[in-house]
């Protein structure tokens, strides 16, 4: 590895402990004197900041380019409305643009025969960067009700510093925001729990991510002796990187927004070991 790796932490099911694993891995890396950066790509519900409590030093609005039609130049040919795949332009006497439906693809501006369309940015959210102690930090916050999240996820990933190990906290699920987060990563850690819901959603996540060609490893959180995830990993030849035991004290510490290492020091070793296992896979 001649540059620092990018590790995505994802999960099919929400609430399995993605953010917990991501922030504690970041803290463990610090102990190993590595330069580390935490990037919260769960732009709909970014939670890393609640635990890392970063100092934000910069905030940028992220927008997508949406069309504006110059009525004077427009000849009402209707080609812009016709070409729009997202029904964001209504063909009336003059074209009427619905910016909230626009995906920012530029098809309309390209097709207009008289150059009557120019694009202006529509804000979808903000990217904030700063640091939490020695951990470099960036997150995206999507405006409530905003349908387009991918450009914001890309903007968060663009804050990546190649000198540091980058930990990407992915959104839950298997839809395109997760795919956009994981694309280009060197490794994905999939966090799950040994329950029917956890295993089912893990298999969905594996089905989504395996074809992308990024190596995967599994972490079982809230482990309690149930072996269904262990069996799954064996059957699918996926490395089981760590078992984090079920412990009500962990839930309580998490509920308070505190870091495990501060309250339950034995957990530091668990995350250091997890990092060692990840490094072996890289």
């Amino acid at each position: 590895m001649n540059r620092s790796p990018v590790i995505a932490i994802a999960s099919g099911k929400g609430g399995t402990g993605k953010t917990t694993v991501a922030i504690h891995l970041a803290a463990a890396l610090l102990f190993h004197k590595r330069s580390v950066q935490y990037l919260d790509c769960d732009v709909e519900e970014p939670n890393g900041h609640l635990f890392l409590k970063p100092r934000i030093v910069s905030s940028e609005t992220v927008g997508i380019p949406v069309p504006a039609v110059d009525a004077a130049t427009c000849t009402s040919c209707g080609k812009c409305a016709e070409v729009c795949e997202f029904n964001a332009i209504a063909r009336l006497k003059k074209p009427l643009v619905f910016p909230e439906l626009c995906h920012g693809c530029g098809a309309c501006a390209l097709v207009c025969p008289v150059g009557a369309i120019h694009e202006t940015p529509r804000a979808i959210g903000v990217v904030e960067s700063g640091h939490a102690g020695s951990i470099a930090f960036a997150q995206g916050r999507l405006n409530i009700g905003e349908p387009m999240s991918l450009p914001l996820i890309r903007a968060v990933k663009a804050k990546r510093n190649p000198e540091a190990v980058a930990l990407l906290d992915a959104p839950p699920g298997t839809a395109c925001p997760v795919v956009a987060t994981v694309r280009g990563a060197d490794f994905v850690v999939l966090v799950t729990e040994p329950t029917p819901f956890g295993l089912h959603d893990l298999s969905l996540a594996v089905d989504t991510l395996l074809p992308m060609g990024v190596p995967l490893g599994i972490v079982v959180n809230r482990a309690d002796g149930d072996l269904r995830v262990h069996d799954y990993c064996r059957e699918h030849h996926l490395p089981l990187l760590a078992e984090l035991p079920d412990d009500r004290r962990v839930a309580e510490t998490y509920a308070r927004g505190e870091l495990l290492f501060d309250c339950l020091p034995e957990w530091r070793e668990r995350f250091e070991n997890l990092w060692t296992r990840i490094e072996e896979q890289l």
């Binding site: 997202f86 029904n87 619905f98």
Partner: protein, 121 residues
């Protein structure tokens, strides 16, 4: 004048369709001559998004000056406004002939803002 009624089927005798964007048919009626022609809105029923917008385009293209319907979402409302088309509101399902009669007698309120939410965007 030409008015467009949202309809569940092809004739004015049939019940009106309360929803503008995904109405099954638009019936274009001439209030002076009484002539009525049905236009199928089938392609909009399956539109991913912006069905209301497409519906507004359709009635604008048909030359309607007023739409008679039950509910209009925010995007369709905006499109109808931009096209200068008024909206006359029916509060409950009734046959198209009844809605048209009440419109001509000025019994239907005019909608001045959308009365239904958008669907997922």
């Amino acid at each position: 004048m030409k008015v467009a009624l949202t309809s569940s089927a092809k004739t004015l005798a049939d019940p009106i369709d309360m929803h503008f964007g995904r109405a099954k048919f638009f019936i274009l009626a001439d209030t002076e001559t009484g002539k009525a022609v049905a236009h199928d809105n089938a392609q909009n029923l399956h539109a991913a998004q912006g069905a209301g917008i497409q519906a507004a385009e359709t009635v604008a293209r048909l030359g309607a000056e007023t739409v008679i319907t039950g509910s209009v979402g925010p995007k369709a409302y905006r499109a109808l406004q931009a096209a200068g088309i008024k909206i006359a509101l029916v509060e409950a399902v009734c046959p198209g002939t009844e809605a048209l009669r009440r419109f001509k007698d000025n019994e239907l309120p005019v909608l001045d803002k959308p009365n239904s939410e958008g669907h997922w965007v």
